[in-house]
Symmetry: C2
Subunit: 344 residues, 2 copies
């Protein structure tokens, strides 16, 4: 079957490795025939772990040995250069060499970002590959682009983020004509820092995206836009504050429910419904964050990812590959480059 | 009594004017003898509103007529220049002229910020006056400095923010030796955008603040630092996302509780406890945001502020004035300026 997508999964990455990445891989191949998973990491550990699962389509999972592990605390550039036999470097090299379509890792974000750019390489025309997680909103999910390592981005980078994000939301998440907004410190057009002020008219002039203007941070959780464009420092603040406010608020609510007998009884009754609700507002339910604009696909899952997240990230890779997202991105951005190069 | 603090309250500012600002003023003077409130705005409206309160110490409230109102949608610089007889301009001019110690407004943030800087004027040695709201955390409150109009700040501005914020937290909020952290996209010292990388060593070198390093946005709601330093664009994103995530999560939880009969009964039982909990995590409970580093005090309350917030903001002004915060700030920053000017 020529539509099979080959995904390398970092069996050593994240807080729950190797158990959860391997469980996620097994669940994925049990569910779909068109996936080939490569588990990369310490062979004996992986083989030992796989013994837990007697019945899964064995021909859909292979193992590639990698003797080293990059720890999250290691300086990324140095680690990627030094640990050639790490699961991250081995996995990325397979994507680079065309032996695999995608790489999924819950390991060091820095190493995945650096390795993705350096080892897999940027697609032609892409200035900077953004990391773009899906964040939960009142209405579903939005794409936050960029949360990566590209701090101090230039306006032209943000314009590319808007285009790549639109393609992703339309063809992977399935939102027609996605609304694109730029994060700003006010709704009025004259608001913004130097970067936003310079980027705004460029986005407004794009005919191939559905640009709806500025978005204030207050409106992000309400689902006001599908593609939320910002530079990586701001994106990082948004992503992490989302988690932080959610966690603190939920723990406060839980503690609040324990203050009286009356509320304790109430808590027991609301618990199941509440659990379902909070699940829909949990970023980890939505698979991983793709690093867009590379020659292959690299997906970063949360450091605390469990099997369901890994499985979803693998499915995301299939969707991505089968819909030819990279080809669409390359085509769109290269059209722009050609336009710029032509004398008008 | 020479310790009486004179506070001008913008009776026309915010969504609930004039009713709530006036109610807040009445509550404040009923509670404390050492406050003199000036209500600035349309005289007939204010007089009419005050009739609702037959018993309050009338000698503690006076009215200053202002025939114009600056709307939130108006371009701030233009509005402040044009509407000389607006409540905001009149109020700020009283602080400038020394007829009042402080000005409290729920009106146009832009106009209050611009007016504060232009009409009241910066204290000697202050490069940029930051707007510094208190935000709720798991442990109490933290000061987020700057959320104002100073986007694209320089490292020296951020250092001043750290010092002013420390003085405020120590002498107004009462936190001894407040922990100061700079918002960053990672905990490691080598992380950051150009601004943070340049500011970090400067903060580290300050002997007069308790600098604890970087703070990731995830740690802000947990109360990891007392003074959270950032430039205004990032501060604005943090402040507004705080509100946005909180509001969306709470409405999701409420909806979730309505999904079954079981959870509906539970919801009735937890409601009172939950209400108390959410109150402690409500930014509006903590009075207003001071614009620090001016010759007088200017406090911006939330656009949707109600009486309790106005009353708290008035008390905040008293605390501020009676503790000589402006004098402390001027002294601290001028010591720095003198040090820089002396040849070493």
């Amino acid at each position: 079957m020529d539509k099979t997508v080959k995904v390398v999964v970092d069996a050593m990455g994240g807080d729950n490795a190797p158990a959860e990445p391997i469980k996620g891989a097994v669940e994925a191949v049990r569910e779909r025939k068109d996936i080939q998973v490569v588990l990369v990491g310490k062979q004996e550990l992986i083989e030992e772990e796989l013994k837990k699962y007697p019945d899964y389509p064995k021909e859909q999972i292979e193992i590639v040995n990698a003797s080293e592990v990059i720890e999250t605390a290691e300086p990324p550039v140095f680690a990627v250069r030094k640990k050639k036999d790490s699961s991250i470097v081995r996995g990325l090299m397979m994507v680079r060499g065309g032996q695999a379509d995608a790489f999924v890792s819950s390991g060091s974000t820095g190493a995945v970002l650096v390795g993705g750019q350096v080892l897999v390489g940027r697609s032609k025309g892409v200035e900077r590959p953004p990391l773009a997680p899906l964040i939960p909103t009142a209405k579903g999910v939005s794409l936050l682009i960029d949360c990566g390592a590209n701090v101090d981005a230039r306006p032209s980078h943000l314009v590319q983020f808007a285009k790549m994000g639109s393609i992703y939301m339309e063809h992977v998440v399935g939102i027609k004509n996605p609304r694109v907004a730029i994060v700003n410190n006010g709704a009025e057009e004259e608001k913004g820092n130097a970067l936003v002020k310079e980027t705004f008219p460029l986005l407004k002039a794009c005919t191939d995206i559905n640009f709806i203007g500025s978005i204030e941070a207050r409106e992000i959780p309400s689902g006001y836009a599908d593609v939320i464009v910002c530079e990586a420092f701001v994106g990082n603040v948004i992503l992490k504050l989302y988690e932080g406010v959610g966690a603190t608020l939920i723990s406060k609510i839980k503690a609040g429910m324990m203050t009286s007998l009356r509320s304790k009884i109430g808590a027991l009754l609301v618990k199941p419904a509440l659990k379902d609700t909070l699940k829909t507002f949990d970023a980890s339910e939505h698979g991983g964050a793709p690093l867009l604009g590379l020659k292959g696909l690299v997906v970063k899952t949360h450091g605390s990812a469990v099997a369901v997240e890994i499985r979803n990230a693998i499915f995301q890779c299939v969707q991505f590959k089968q819909n030819g997202i990279n080809e669409k991105i390359a085509q769109r951005l290269n059209e722009d480059t050609e336009k710029q190069e032509q004398p008008s």
